[in-house]
């Protein structure tokens, strides 16, 4: 009886162990090895490191994760945190109206309609990008807060704008953190 069970279980257990070794150990370690050698920056979180005036290096963020900006001299990203609210709910409408009011407080000269992405939360809650329209909406404010001309701001923005893939897939995005680092002269 025991012998019979042993005979039946051998293929099951051996198959499970070999497959676990192949798919759960060898495969991920192999990919990790290639990743670390060929793409060291990408595989470790696309960290942006800057050198401070005193020569020390600090990590100021990941190029792929949004940070919170509120000061007028910075390009400001989308609201932080994902809401999971129904877009048609009362709660959502109230939240959007609060954000609209917030933008008007920040920049009283700009009374135009606000781009949708600046008043809606993203999926990740840390969307690193905003739309080119949302960046353009903020150009005048950033320029006046920094005392530089608007075209200088636009130049920086266009430098950190990614296009869609092969011109048809996905949308353009402006990387908020990179623009702000460039405006501060850090990259």
């Amino acid at each position: 009886m025991m012998k019979r069970i042993g005979k039946d279980l051998r293929p099951v257990l051996v198959c499970f162990m070999v497959m676990t070794l192949l798919c759960g150990v060898i495969y991920p370690i192999f990919v990790t090895g290639i990743a670390q050698i060929v793409f060291p920056n990408q595989s470790n979180g696309s960290i942006i490191t800057i050198t401070q005036e005193n020569g020390t290096k600090i990590d100021v963020g990941s190029a792929l994760l949004g940070q919170e900006f509120t000061n007028p001299e910075y390009l400001i990203g989308r609201p932080m945190g994902a809401s999971n609210l129904s877009p048609t709910s009362e709660e959502q409408n109230t939240l959007v109206q609060e954000r609209v009011a917030g933008w008007h407080v920040l920049d009283q000269n700009n009374t135009g309609d606000i781009p949708m992405d600046l008043v809606t939360a993203s999926a990740s809650g840390v969307d690193p990008n905003i739309s080119p329209e949302a960046a353009e909406y903020q150009v005048a404010r950033i320029a006046s807060a920094r005392g530089i001309n608007e075209d200088a701001v636009r130049t920086v923005i266009s430098k950190y704008t990614s296009g869609s893939f092969l011109g048809f897939w996905g949308e353009s995005g402006v990387n908020v953190l990179k623009v702000n680092l460039a405006l501060d002269g850090l990259i």
Partner: protein, 562 residues
């Protein structure tokens, strides 16, 4: 909108173009022919068989095949449960995560051995790298391979005459993993890393933000290797809690394109493989056509709703619905991903589905409620669709008064019993789960939204588990003892009852002789049959779920019309 149509159109062209060569390749693998990778893989394959003590020629009866699948899955279940419970004493746990609660560990284990990947946890907040790779990652491969293996067995049932065996589960499982899943995952994982998907064993990174100098944690881990198979194997369980909506899991337009393609690629290719295997490519193509038509219609409604039925806010530029969507993915690819992930039993997301418009959310639910046969899970989607094909043949046979047959096999009472199990168990369990949840007094505390949309969150959760899909309306609080336990049991039943029925159906078909087609035989490869098949799929889905949908997304939609 025209740009979205181009986006979707080109995507579908690439998908279809790639599915033909891949389908041909998988056909060769399933029938044991030599392929270009054989030279490298055959020695590995042989030595595994040797270690297992099995003979290359061994075949299994349906009973033994089903038993092997079940015992193999039980071992997986125990293993994944155990790894989670002991993760604090296991290696590669740089963030020192402790064991989750027993009910959550059970739910996660059930979820991953059933190819569902429903996630009541957040990976980066609760699971070690070891648990993710050795526990969950392995199941991503094995459950996908199991689905394809069972499809192979069913296919053999159609080809064989008067045979009592349906192939060897071990060979099917091992060959699928070695020849199909590992090579494709390897390529995809490395491209994903090049785009910025993380892949490291180092601990999380702390950075200091530019404005305000506060701390931000950058979660890391061996993510790319797992994300590749998560997409290719229609698993869908994110390495990170926010899945492919999280930039470190899906950073660029290219990564988004490839991950989206990978959701549908193998399920689509299997239609081609099936046609080749039964020596009538038209049969595979007509099933493929039915799936594509259902997919495109659902996609059109979904995209229209997200683009044009989005709310308009005062003082804000009108645009599509951007709540819960990432900038670079936009409305177009978010809607396309939503359709693909629910059609194909994948369950990964690149946008927050809870924040889709009411009708958009309804299409997501309905695609799952059709029984995950519009592409569906790898292997399981096609064997589910073949059950619908047999049902359609049966109904058509009743109408003209002929004994129904499919691919030369007479469809008889036992076959129809199995088909009923395959087709009816998922909706039955879904409705049962939803109804039980609604009766719980604390149900309303699990929801983020209120009213009809709140009910949608709950219906979505049980639809997702009851379809082995795994996507979620994120506002639903999933980690409760009730949902973990009931959901875990549901996922196991929904996966294994139909699966075992398919294996016995395969055995029964295998045992029959093949009758030659005559003038009176119903063609199963023309436009008329494709239309009939679509009607039957829609009919079963609609009859089962319209009342529930009326209380959720449909009511939600009508409350927005002022």
């Amino acid at each position: 909108m025209s740009s979205i149509v181009i986006e979707d159109g080109l995507f579908l062209i690439v998908l279809v173009a790639l599915s033909f060569p891949l389908g041909h390749y998988i056909y060769k693998v399933m029938t044991g022919q030599t392929v270009f990778l054989s030279r490298v893989i055959v020695p590995v394959e042989r030595s595994i068989y040797k270690l297992m003590g099995m003979n290359d020629e061994d075949e299994m009866s349906p009973r033994k095949y089903a038993f092997s699948v079940l015992i193999f899955s039980v071992i997986g279940l125990i293993f994944v449960f155990g790894i989670q419970m002991f993760q604090s004493s296991l290696p590669f746990n740089p963030e020192n995560f402790q064991a989750p609660s027993w009910d959550l560990a059970f739910n996660t284990a059930a979820s991953f051995v059933t190819n569902t990947n429903w996630q009541a946890y957040s990976g980066e907040l609760s699971l070690s790298y070891f648990t993710q790779a050795v526990g969950l990652g392995v199941q991503n491969f094995l459950t996908a391979a199991t689905g394809i293996a069972v499809l192979f067995a069913l296919t053999r049932g159609f080809i064989a005459t008067k045979k009592t065996t349906i192939g060897s589960f071990w060979k099917d499982l091992i060959r699928t993993t070695l020849y199909v899943l590992i090579p494709l995952s390897l390529i995809l994982a490395i491209i994903l890393v090049s785009q910025g998907v993380v892949q490291t064993l180092a601990p999380y990174k702390e950075i200091v933000t530019l404005q305000g100098g506060s701390a931000q944690t950058v979660p890391l881990g061996p993510a790319a290797s797992q994300i590749a198979i998560k997409q290719l194997g229609t698993n869908g369980g994110g390495f990170f809690g926010l899945n492919s909506a999280f930039p470190l899991e899906n950073p660029t337009a290219l990564s988004n394109f490839l991950q989206l393609l990978s959701i549908l690629l193998i399920p689509a290719a299997l239609c081609i493989s099936f046609g080749k295997a039964v020596k009538d490519s038209k049969q595979g193509r007509s099933i493929y056509a039915a799936m594509l038509i259902l997919f495109v219609v659902a996609l059109a409604v979904l995209t229209y709703s997200e683009q044009y039925l989005a709310p308009v806010f005062q003082g804000v530029m009108a645009s599509g619905n951007m709540e819960g969507k990432e900038i670079i993915h936009g409305v177009g690819t978010s809607a396309l991903w939503g359709a693909a992930t629910t059609a194909a039993s994948n369950g990964s997301v690149n946008a927050m589905l809870d924040s889709f418009t009411p009708l958009g959310g309804m299409m997501l639910m309905f695609l799952m409620q059709l029984g995950e046969v519009v592409f569906g899970g790898v292997g399981s989607g096609l064997y589910g669709m073949i059950a619908f094909v047999i049902l359609t043949v049966f109904i058509a046979g009743l109408m003209v008064g002929r004994t129904p047959e499919y691919l030369g096999k007479k469809i008889e009472a036992f076959d129809m019993k199995m088909v009923c199990l395959i087709v009816l168990v998922p909706p039955l369990l879904t409705l049962f789960g939803t109804a039980t949840a609604v009766l719980m007094p604390q149900a309303s505390t699990w929801l983020t939204n209120s009213g009809a949309h709140g009910f949608s969150e709950l219906l979505y959760a049980f639809t997702s588990m009851g379809a082995n899909n795994g996507s979620a309306f994120g506002g639903f609080t999933a980690n409760t003892i009730f949902t973990n336990v009931i959901g875990g049991i549901m996922m196991l039943f929904v996966r294994f009852i139909p699966l075992v029925a398919v294996v016995f159906l395969a055995g029964n078909l295998s045992n029959k002789k093949i009758v030659a087609a005559s003038d009176g035989t119903l063609s199963t490869s023309n436009g008329l049959f494709v239309g009939l098949l679509i009607v039957i799929v829609l009919l079963i889905g609609a009859l089962s779920f319209l009342p529930a949908l009326a209380l959720g997304p449909i009511a939600d939609f009508f409350t927005t019309i002022k």
